[in-house]
């Protein structure tokens, strides 16, 4: 890990939430992706985002490819396996027909995802038909049952790892809602029974089976035909199961993304509403900036990680200091000393609870009342019975009345006032968009807010404002540049994408680095549409006039430069430079020369002098 001295000295305790994304060894997951590769998966299609028809197989594979990438970035300790069934070729330890476990060299069948796996899996569609092949594996005559075999293989793969410390899951992708539908009744019953038994055996071993069904555009995937028994749903859950079965690629990706990540409570919070009513909430970090991860220092000859040791050394004696070390604050000609314990005592001002203070209308929450990402709150009756009911009541009232709660939250350093904003559930075809609950927004203190507006006011001088015509042109422009269906976080972080593409390329010894698309750039095609260009031109003209000189610069900067240049005339720099007397001038005086000659002003005095000397000697 790279140690940053700044960081070491930070007075704040590390925010535990920032560790939220970093997994610990103990809670790891074993996942088997089970993909139906029957001919039906290739022949059925549904529309993708750009209105192209995509086969179900393609949808499944690209979902998994994306999921693998998020595994390797966020949860690289998880072990995964990819297994196709209904294949022509077979490859599995049990040597069962119609099941093909996909893998790459230097990797066990179920193992942590590697760069090679991701790379090869990305290309699998090109070679699939040739190398693996698609073939219906459920044959009534020979009593072949590839679904049964696939579950068996998956279960065998998941034998790895203790069931106590790991979550084990099978994700099953298929578009066949009735796999044994075409069989004779007796065969069908038999196959259904054995397959369900196989699934149940797996579940008894602590493996959960999750179904990601694909529907035909004209025919919904009917889960009640067969799969409800396989994944063990009953009455109520059945209606709850996926409000709409995935049709679009995007929906499917969303579904998988949501389900692959196990839900983790960031913190438990006691919410004190009033005397006698304290309820239990769970706080979740739903939004936290993803980073490229920490730097590990390696030995450049062996590429093995090296050990970084930090030591505190007394500057006077060279003795090694033991932690905790005393701290000092210079204050009025002396140093005031604090012990580490005293400092932490200063910061400890609250019990860590969330205390309701009152309510305000939503208009009181300004756009600049924000410090860091919010925390999502959802009630729990696990420890305090009645929490959910009280929470729902407040939640409804707050939405109804358009108010937010102001509360004091002691769980951060420093404790902060927070705004609790009730969020109603928002659902779309693809499932839940916004979960119901409250978002805790961390408010700044007076000390944290800066009055920039005041800095830019000129008392008594009215600031220029737009005229009616200019407003009209602005309005036209805004209508033209309307982003339809904009949703927050639709963009991938180009820097992060690039970073991982770079790691993948280096890991695989590739010379070429695939282009990563920067989705955050303005849509040039859209911007160049005549209507848009015209609206922009009109707005521009209304503001800047016909004058092509849009920079109507009042020239303040130029003037001041010139004035400074005149000041510099007080000294004969050439003479001073020759006689080596530049060092007698002050930095400010030196800078006047640099400014006058448009040279950089950065650096220490020596650097400035050298720069002047270099310039003079030209």
């Amino acid at each position: 890990m790279e140690l940053d001295p700044e960081d070491v000295f930070r007075d704040e305790d590390e925010d535990p939430e920032s560790q939220f994304f970093q997994e610990k060894e103990a809670s790891k997951e074993f996942v088997v992706y089970l993909i139906d590769a029957s001919p039906k998966m290739f022949s059925s299609t549904c529309p993708s985002e750009d209105e192209k028809q995509e086969s179900h197989f393609h949808i499944s594979v690209s979902c998994i490819a994306q999921s693998l990438k998020s595994h390797i970035i966020n949860r690289s300790n998880d072990e995964i396996a990819i297994c196709f069934f209904n294949t022509r070729e077979k490859k599995n330890l049990q040597d069962l027909n119609g099941v093909y476990v996909f893998n790459v060299p230097q990797r066990e069948c179920i193992d942590r995802p590697t760069a090679r796996l991701i790379k090869d899996f990305d290309l699998i569609e090109e070679s699939f038909i040739e190398d693996i092949g698609s073939q219906n594996g459920i044959v009534s005559d020979s009593r072949e049952n590839s679904l049964y075999s696939a579950l068996w293989v998956a279960q065998a793969l998941l034998r790895k790892g203790s069931s106590k410390t790991a979550d084990k899951r099978i994700f099953l992708f298929t578009n066949e809602d009735d796999p044994f539908g075409s069989m004779r009744i007796s065969v069908k019953e038999d196959m259904t029974r054995t397959t369900l038994q196989r699934a149940k055996d797996a579940q008894d071993l602590g493996i959960s089976i999750e179904l990601l069904p694909l529907s035909h555009p004209d025919k919904q995937f009917d889960i009640s035909l067969f799969y409800k028994d396989l994944i063990g749903l009953n009455g109520d859950e059945l209606t709850e199961f996926m409000p709409s079965v995935g049709q679009k690629l995007e929906d499917m990706k969303d579904q998988l993304k949501k389900r692959v990540l196990a839900k983790r409570i960031a913190k438990r919070i006691t919410f004190m509403i009033c005397d006698g009513v304290s309820i239990e909430l769970n706080g979740y970090a739903l939004l936290r900036p993803a980073t490229p991860g920490t730097i590990t220092w390696l030995d450049s000859t062996t590429n093995l990680p090296i050990k970084v040791e930090r030591s505190y050394v007394c500057a006077d004696t060279g003795a090694i200091m033991q932690e905790p070390i005393q701290r000092i604050q210079p204050y009025i000609n002396r140093d005031v000393m604090f012990t580490a314990a005293e400092l932490s005592e200063v910061k400890k001002i609250s019990t860590g609870h969330l205390r309701l203070l009152g309510f305000k209308p939503l208009s009181c929450l300004k756009d600049y009342h924000n410090m860091k990402p919010s925390t999502f709150l959802y009630p729990s009756d696990k420890e305090v019975i009645g929490s959910t009911r009280a929470f729902i009541a407040l939640h409804r009232s707050m939405i109804q009345l358009g108010r937010f709660a102001v509360a004091f939250y002691g769980g951060t350093t420093p404790p902060r006032l927070v705004a609790l904003v009730a969020q109603d559930e928002i659902e779309s075809d693809g499932g839940q968009v916004e979960p119901p609950g409250m978002n805790m927004i961390y408010l700044p203190y007076a000390n944290d807010i800066r009055d920039i507006e005041e800095l830019h006011s000129k008392p008594g001088v009215a600031a220029p404002r737009a005229t009616e015509d200019q407003l009209k042109k602005a309005s036209a422009l805004m209508r033209r540049l309307e982003l339809k269906d904009f949703s927050v976080c639709q963009f991938a972080n180009p820097a992060l994408q690039r970073h991982y593409a770079m790691l993948q390329a280096i890991a695989l010894d590739e010379d070429e680095l695939g282009e990563t698309r920067d989705e955050t750039l303005p849509d040039e095609g859209g911007m160049n549409r005549p209507g848009v260009v015209k609206a922009i031109e009109e707005f521009k003209e209304s503001i800047y006039g016909d004058d092509s000189e849009e920079e109507s610069d009042s020239g303040a900067k130029e003037k001041s430069r010139k004035r400074k240049a005149a000041d510099a005339g007080d000294y004969d720099f050439v003479e001073l430079a020759k006689t080596g007397k530049l060092k007698d001038l002050t930095v400010v005086e030196l800078k006047t020369y640099l400014t006058a000659n448009n040279l950089p002003l950065s650096g220490k005095k020596d650097a400035l002098i050298n720069r002047i000397l270099a310039h003079v000697s030209k």
């Binding site: 103990a26 995802p113 030995d299 930090r310 009345l401 009215a462 890991a507 990563t516």
Partner: protein, 681 residues
């Protein structure tokens, strides 16, 4: 005075009406002085009080008038005296005229610095503005104030007035207050003058900007609508966390005789191949690596440079969208403000046109920003309009960072509507809740809003500086208790709650909550078994609770309570074991010196131990102990105890109660009659 120094004159009303709040004024002012001593120790400060018996100022001496205005300190560089001075402000008997004081203060600033001086000149008036001002010799008060304000603006003096509006008691004259409000507002129209009304000691502490930060732009450049239409803007931080000062580490290793000791501490980093060797790698022998799956990928600085994501400085507009598309909780960071370049009039107009139209139509703009050239990443954010209410302030935008796809962790949560009725409020409960949300009101009207972030000081900073001041006087000063004023952010306002007592009572009456003791223990176990991201947090919170009542032994008096308290401690993993072994000892002791009433106690303890061992899923511990106890009783011929034992039906913990047990259900029941229980391994 250098460019970045400030000359400040504090004008404090010490008249009778102010006496009750003066202690808080003293606190606020001393904090201001303290921070100047730490961060801006070349700033200069003068102090003027008004409403005093005495009159002592240059204007009174030279031209007369200006009575009851006393200069406590002429403008000079802050020193240790100034903190003490503002901490002991005099109490005056006269209702002071704030206009007189303002003129005295302005005069001091002008005489000290003159008009040509660069730097910042500031007047800070603290008053309740409830006392009448004198009529001027000529013209109206309005004209007089306008003249002063214009002069102030011309001299480049900024003014800040903090007006105390604690509970308006009966004896204040509404007319005077109105007039004074009007006069103060005249300052704002003619000079850079800010006016805040504070209603509590808390907002008084928050109203005084104690830390002066020179605002620095983090971006100056183009807001690009398209390549041909650009608006010149500057971007500043609008919100940035003020932290505690960075304290230096101190070494006491140098001998006391060493007068030149610097007492500094250096941090050394050693890069070693393994922990054991003393061999240290030189900087060029190491290379940065990033984790990617199971591997750590080394990247040389050259590779990094050629392959990394490259950016070009600039703000590019992506488009506009409805404000409702951007939910408030998506704001990711502290907030920036985008103001038009003040020297470009056309840019000011362009921003004004967009901001006003956005506000009108409830739209926001989505922009992509790179603040510096070569910056390794981009941000996508939202511009929201900040339409100015003041004529002399240009319109601007607030900028908030939005999350990228990678930053989002969407988990599905059950819909509230799908919950069973038992978890949902009924109509009556909903009505009670509606009432609470309506009545526990912190903003009855925009003017009366309390707990505004803008006026709420940071309690930790306040406490630190108070402590620092105490410590500078005496090294072993105790940490001062939390300032009373901060109760207002840490607890409900007692006045508000008592006026809404019936509503609060009906809320707590309607929503019964109770602890779920059984599950609490079980979930605790879960937590321990599966360490997840939540652990640190939990431990921290619980440590705090445990400090309050840390029970670490099972005492004589209340063994059962002690034991149960101890076993529920969560500030370490070994409390369960400790508690169990303590309890065992206690029981053995009770059994050994058993008299008749001790037997009941011992049984009680044993029952409690059994209960907890089931909850904690520690059946073996109990079963083994029970065997041990059984043998002990037989050995010592304590048959009367054994008899009770049987009568209370204390059995071993069978599999059905705790999965880890290897005692079958039948066996457990048999135990009490068995003479020679089978020993478990």
């Amino acid at each position: 005075m250098a460019r970045n120094r400030e000359g400040l004159v504090l004008l404090v009303d010490v008249g009778p009406a102010m006496h009750s709040v003066l202690p808080d004024v003293e606190k606020a002012c001393s904090l201001l002085m303290q921070k100047k001593l730490i961060y801006n120790k070349f700033d200069e400060v003068g102090i003027v009080v008004f409403g005093t018996q005495e009159t002592e100022n240059e204007l009174a001496r030279d031209i007369g008038g200006y009575e009851n205005v006393k200069v406590l300190r002429n403008i000079k560089v802050v020193d240790e005296l100034v903190v003490d001075l503002v901490k002991r402000l005099p109490r005056g008997p006269v209702a002071g005229d704030f206009l007189d004081a303002l003129i005295v203060g302005m005069d001091m600033l002008i005489k000290m610095y003159g008009a040509g001086q660069k730097g910042k000149k500031r007047l800070c008036l603290i008053t309740n503005a409830a006392c009448p001002t004198k009529d001027p010799f000529e013209g109206t008060k309005d004209e007089q104030v306008s003249t002063i304000a214009v002069k102030m603006a011309a001299e480049g003096i900024k003014m800040e007035s903090i007006v105390m509006r604690a509970d308006a008691s009966g004896d204040v004259d509404e007319r005077i207050i109105e007039e004074n409000d009007h006069l103060l507002s005249l300052f704002s129209t003619n000079a850079i003058a800010k006016r805040v009304y504070v209603e509590s000691p808390l907002s008084l502490l928050g109203s005084l900007k104690t830390r002066r930060v020179a605002p620095v732009t983090l971006f100056r450049g183009d807001l690009e609508i398209n390549p041909s239409m650009k608006i010149k803007v500057w971007v500043y931080k609008k919100v940035a966390e003020e932290r505690l000062p960075t304290l230096k580490m101190y070494s006491d290793k140098a001998p006391p005789s060493d007068k030149f000791a610097k007492h500094e501490v250096k941090i050394d980093y050693d890069y070693k191949v393994t922990a054991e060797t003393s061999e240290v790698l030189a900087p060029e022998e190491r290379i940065k690596g990033f984790r990617y799956g199971p591997h750590v990928i080394p990247i040389s600085p050259d590779e990094m440079e050629t392959l990394k994501f490259k950016t070009e400085k600039g703000m590019k507009l992506l488009g506009f969208t409805d404000a409702s598309n951007i939910l408030r909780h998506y704001y990711m960071k502290d907030v920036n403000i985008v103001v038009p370049d003040p020297s470009k009039e056309k840019s000011v107009i362009a921003v004004s046109a967009l901001a006003r139209e956005m506000k009108q139509t409830n739209k926001v703009a989505i922009v992509r920003c790179v603040w510096r050239n070569g910056q390794g990443n981009v941000v996508v954010g939202v511009l929201t309009p900040n339409v100015s209410e003041r004529d002399d302030t240009p319109d601007s935008f607030y900028f908030n960072v939005l999350p990228f796809a990678e930053d989002v962790r969407e988990f599905p949560f059950p819909s509230f509507s799908r919950f069973p009725a038992s978890l949902k409020p009924d109509e009556q409960q909903q009505a009670v809740s509606d009432n609470l949300v309506k009545m526990l009101d912190l903003a009855p009207s925009p003017k009366e809003e309390v707990l505004k972030p803008e006026l709420t000081p940071n309690p930790v900073l306040q406490r630190f500086y108070e402590y620092l001041e105490l410590k500078s006087k005496s090294t072993d000063a105790a940490l001062p208790p939390m300032n009373e004023a901060f109760k207002r952010i840490m607890e409900q306002d007692p006045e508000l709650s008592s006026s809404n007592k019936s509503i609060m009572d009906s809320f707590s009456g309607s929503f019964e909550v109770k602890e779920n003791p059984k599950l609490r223990k079980a979930s605790k176990r879960l937590l321990r078994d599966k360490p997840s991201g939540s652990d640190d947090e939990d431990n921290r919170m619980i440590t705090y609770n445990a400090n309050e009542n840390s029970i670490d032994t099972v005492g004589d008096a209340n063994p059962v309570q002690d034991f149960e308290a101890m076993i529920s401690r969560r500030d370490g993993n070994d409390w369960t074991d400790k508690a169990i072994s303590e309890m065992k000892k206690r029981i053995v002791k009770l059994v050994e010196d058993s008299t008749t009433d001790e037997v009941d106690k011992a049984l009680e303890c044993l029952l409690s131990l059994r209960k907890c061992c089931v909850l904690e899923q520690e059946p073996k511990q109990f079963n083994e102990f029970l065997n041990h106890l059984y043998e002990l009783c037989q050995e010592k011929k304590l048959s009367h105890f054994l008899a009770h034992f049987t009568s209370k039906k204390i059995t071993m913990i069978p599999k059905s109660e705790a999965a880890d047990s290897d005692v079958a259900d039948e066996e457990a029941a048999d135990f009490t009659v068995k003479q020679e229980p089978k020993l478990e391994t």
